[in-house]
Symmetry: C2
Subunit: 324 residues, 2 copies
């Protein structure tokens, strides 16, 4: 048996509880990990409320990433090896069974907590910017929620590959934070018009958008000819009223909606492979990139951790420590 | 001086008139063509009404394609050579100056009138299906306005490359016509629900959409996971009242809006090169593909030709004969 976070019912942070449940049994192409740390994602809050069921075959435990050690050797991975992984679920637990090719070695200079802040956010950021939007050096990218887990990864990845980055966020503190990470322009959406600021910036070749409906018109205004506009979340509503297809055609815009969790195992394996081959882990090793941790909580404080994310207080990732 | 179709003012077909205007002077990278035939495109009707101004630097004469002979030798093209070309404008005239790398040789088995039915419609169809939507063998594609110039090209190109094709059109005659061209499914949108029919067909991996707003919701229903939905016209309105981003994300849809005319010369040269390299001209030579001509008019009957297109009477292209 192992400790895991389970749900009393669907609802607010108070429904999260620690339970004893069976250790998962890895399938032939899976590796059993002893999880040292995991981290929160916004999707976790939706899943807790019952709005984001795990895909078929996935654990119904919340948690999309983890860092830990290999618990049983397999052909490719040695017992005790320090690894991190993206998961379709099951991260909030002492053990997780993970697809063998969704694993990555943890760079030697990073702790388990630091590593736990990487997989889901950084692989998603990599997917959005390079797989989906095909971002290239010198292009201008607009990142909404710049201080979020994915946002802080996007800023660093964009700068690593020579793009120019504008971000939006909701406080002066977050603006300073994003600028320190390398953002060329950081806009306080509560006090400024991001549309106007991004236009002065020269417009956006790429918009990476987790907001959706609320920002739709302003994004359409801020984006440039041949812009790629990637929707990966709808924190600002999902129902858009009045979309001008002529406005989109005038700029030859591609509006691309995407998710990561419900992709095929092959897609994820390919994505993780590209992430490594493209030198991202090496950049962590060389400290050119850094995982951004806002706070670390012991697993017993999971409800408090969820509350902080729900209030948008965090800049960067909220990590949960599960075992030493 | 040369004969050309000019506009008395913006308006209906009656504003089209034959005038004498100067022969265009080719720029260094252009070739002067003696135009034997041109063809109508829906964009011509918009331009006639003043809704689709030519891009900067283009002729203000209507006409997006032509077939003729090289009037003056250049480094790459010999005087008298039979060629056809996409144009940003200027097709409705006795002479046209064309970018050298937007030209294609006319397959020997085709007349000038047949060749005039190829460039804009077929290059657009090729662009939509392969450049933009990245269509692959076995995928299912939904083509609206299947009996249009672009539609009849799309049906044949899709079948040539092993895709399965469903089309919509507005009469029993057009349905038979599309089926004869190879459409696997032809739906009369006036009497049937295309959404329902396409679902029974297995859904669409690709939607090629020149309709826009009127079909928006049904397209979203008919499209499959990871679907590419390409908007290249808004004959059914351009203002969509309600768009569900959640609905799009659930299927990871890419909604791609595109045009051809206002693309860069380099883009068009590249596209024309791919069109040739991919064996499309050879397929015309081997009679695997065929240009579809609805009717041919002498240039003096240009108003009548426009009227027919405006009434959606045509199946395939309406060709204008300019000289012998």
């Amino acid at each position: 048996m192992m400790r895991a976070v389970t749900l009393l019912r669907y609802g607010g942070p108070e429904v999260l509880q620690i339970s004893q449940i069976p250790i998962p049994v890895p399938k032939p192409n899976e590796v059993l990990l002893k999880v040292h740390a995991t981290a929160l994602n916004r999707a976790d809050l939706l899943q807790r409320r019952g709005f984001y069921p795990p895909p078929a075959g996935a654990s119904d435990i919340i948690g999309l990433e983890c860092a830990g050690e290999v618990a049983q050797s397999t052909r490719n991975w040695a017992s005790g090896q320090r690894v991190m992984a993206i998961l379709p679920g099951g991260g909030y637990a002492e053990y997780a069974a993970v697809k063998s090719d969704h694993l990555m070695p943890i760079p030697e200079n990073l702790s388990y907590e630091e590593a736990a802040a990487i997989p889901e956010g950084w692989v998603t950021a990599y997917q959005l910017l390079f797989y989906i939007a095909r971002g290239k050096a010198q292009e201008k990218v607009l990142v909404h929620a710049g201080a979020s887990g994915v946002g802080t990864a996007l800023i660093q990845l964009a700068k690593l590959k020579g793009l120019k980055v504008a971000v939006t966020c909701g406080s002066q503190e977050k603006i300073e934070f994003c600028k320190n990470l390398g953002a060329d322009l950081a806009i306080n959406y509560k006090t400024e018009s991001f549309k106007q600021k991004v236009k002065e910036f020269g417009g956006a070749d790429i918009v990476l958008d987790c907001i959706g409906a609320n920002y739709f018109e302003d994004n359409l205004d801020a984006i440039r000819l041949d812009g790629r506009w990637v929707i990966y979340g709808t924190m600002g509503g999902h129902q858009v009223n009045q979309v001008s297809l002529r406005g989109m055609m005038g700029k030859r815009i591609s509006l691309i909606s995407t998710t990561l969790r419900n992709r095929s195992d092959e897609y994820k394996a390919d994505l993780v492979g590209s992430f490594i081959d493209d030198g991202i882990l090496d950049a962590f090793r060389n400290r050119v990139l850094k995982p951004i941790i806002y706070r670390t909580f012991p697993i017993e404080k999971i409800a408090e951790a969820h509350e902080i994310m729900e209030k948008n207080e965090n800049s960067g990732k909220i990590v949960l420590k599960i075992s030493n």
